[in-house]
Amino acid sequence: MSIRIVPVETLVQQPTGLEPLLLPRPTELYRARAARLHSLAAQHPMGDYLRLAARIVEAQLGLVIRQPVLLPERGDYFRQCAEHGLPPLGAVAWPREALWREGLRALCRELAQALTGPAAEVAARLAEAPDALLEGYAQDLLSGQYERVPAGEAPFVWAALAAHFSQLASQLKVAAIPEPGDHRHLCPVCGSAPVASMQQIGARSGLRYLHCGLCESEWHLVRAKCSNCEDSRDLGYWSLDDREAAVRAESCGACSSYLKLVSLDRDAAADAVADDLATLALDARMEEEGFARSSLNPFLFPG
């Protein structure tokens, strides 16, 4: 891990230069994401599905506002993580508070009312599911064993976990220190895969940050480099119809994978999850070119 996260009180010297890590602000993030999904849905062949995703994001926002989660006091745990260079909220190892299940049930009760058809049935089923089943789903999803969780249930469970972990991440009192080595393929906060790259605007103009698919943190990785294998010799930047498109796929010939790159300078309202989900046609064409996605979208799990 070449971004080491340490408790802020252990810092000897204030770090200078660019910030390697941007912690999430869940309220603003989910509000903007829901709005973005609605606006993308307006003229989209998959508009209905984007509106469903928007509704789930609104439910995530509701959780953050109505059932806020407090970061527990775990000083020794965080110090040990820092000492060994481990992510402080490593999602598989983190002793999950039972509170996340209350969040999931509240989210599913709300969505069972708000949605229709199979989506409402899945939500209703999850709202009544026993603790052991929900914990099993969570553990499988967080450890990457996606095939063990039904594809319909997965986005609801993930939405509750994401709302939980993003709130925990937003309260961390830590500093991120860049270290030699190039291991930046997973989130330094929770160890999950990035959903997309975000090319920033404003004070961080032009810099690329990877956006975590779970805790919504963003961490820095230099441009023109594969985010999976760090090769830089055979990169392609693919887009449909428009070479100035806000969403491009960054492919790597060395590992045959790709991750989407969302350029906020081309569309300031773009969101990692929303714009990735809305550009499924680009995924289809990238697969035809022989590349595989090196991440999942939280609203699209494989069957």
């Binding site: 599905y49 810099l207 999976n228 070119e289």
Partner: protein
């Protein structure tokens, strides 16, 4: 080398039956129906150093084409490299105009000579250019080379010719510059190592 640090997925190949979209009662075919109507474009981004001055700003060059045979590749955009420690993404007006410099119709692409007494530039071959420069250098060096100074000490100086080298050179190019000029006894060498 296949480095598979993250899990890889192919979602669209099977029409996404069984995926989340299908499981929640939606039809993924609708999303993928118009895939054929789009033209897939490939560009590359390449790191380089601005050629102008000795600050040596990092740049990112965008080009179309994948470098395959028969495919014409073309640079269409250049911007400052935001990760470069020297310029952090910024470029001066000259650097910001680099893409026009590349495509300028006035760009010099081959050696030319304006003969003494003529007012026209004439294209010559690289071989001829090297030979003429070498002849001028040898004539000047033979006439003005200083082997010993007034005290009879061997100095081997050639003071009547100087060498203007590039500003954004690599260490290796700098080493070659020195090896070439010093072996001829040339003292006036400028790499524009200042701005």
């Amino acid at each position: 080398m296949q480095v598979n640090r993250r899990q890889f997925f192919k979602l669209c190949a099977g029409g996404m039956a069984g995926s989340t979209i299908a499981a929640l009662g939606f039809m993924p075919e609708k999303a993928l129906a118009d895939v054929r109507n789009y033209k897939l474009l490939r560009a590359t981004e390449t790191r380089n150093t601005c050629p102008y001055c000795s600050v040596g700003c990092g740049i990112l060059m965008y080009s179309l084409g994948d470098g395959a045979k028969n495919a014409k590749s073309e640079i269409f955009h250049i911007e400052g490299d935001p990760d470069h420690p020297v310029n952090r993404g910024a470029l001066c007006p000259k650097g910001a105009g680099l893409v026009d410099f590349i495509h300028s119709p006035n760009r010099l692409k081959h050696p030319e000579v304006r003969e003494a007494g003529s007012n026209e530039w004439k294209r010559i071959s690289w071989e001829e250019a090297f030979e003429r420069i070498a002849r001028h250098m040898k004539a000047d060096r033979d006439a003005n080379f200083v082997e010993k100074n007034a005290d009879g000490v061997t100095v081997n100086r050639w003071l009547t010719t100087g060498f203007l080298a590039a500003s954004a050179s690599s260490n290796e190019a700098g080493w070659l510059t020195h090896k070439f000029t010093r072996s001829l006894g040339m003292l006036a060498v400028d790499n524009q190592a200042r701005v």
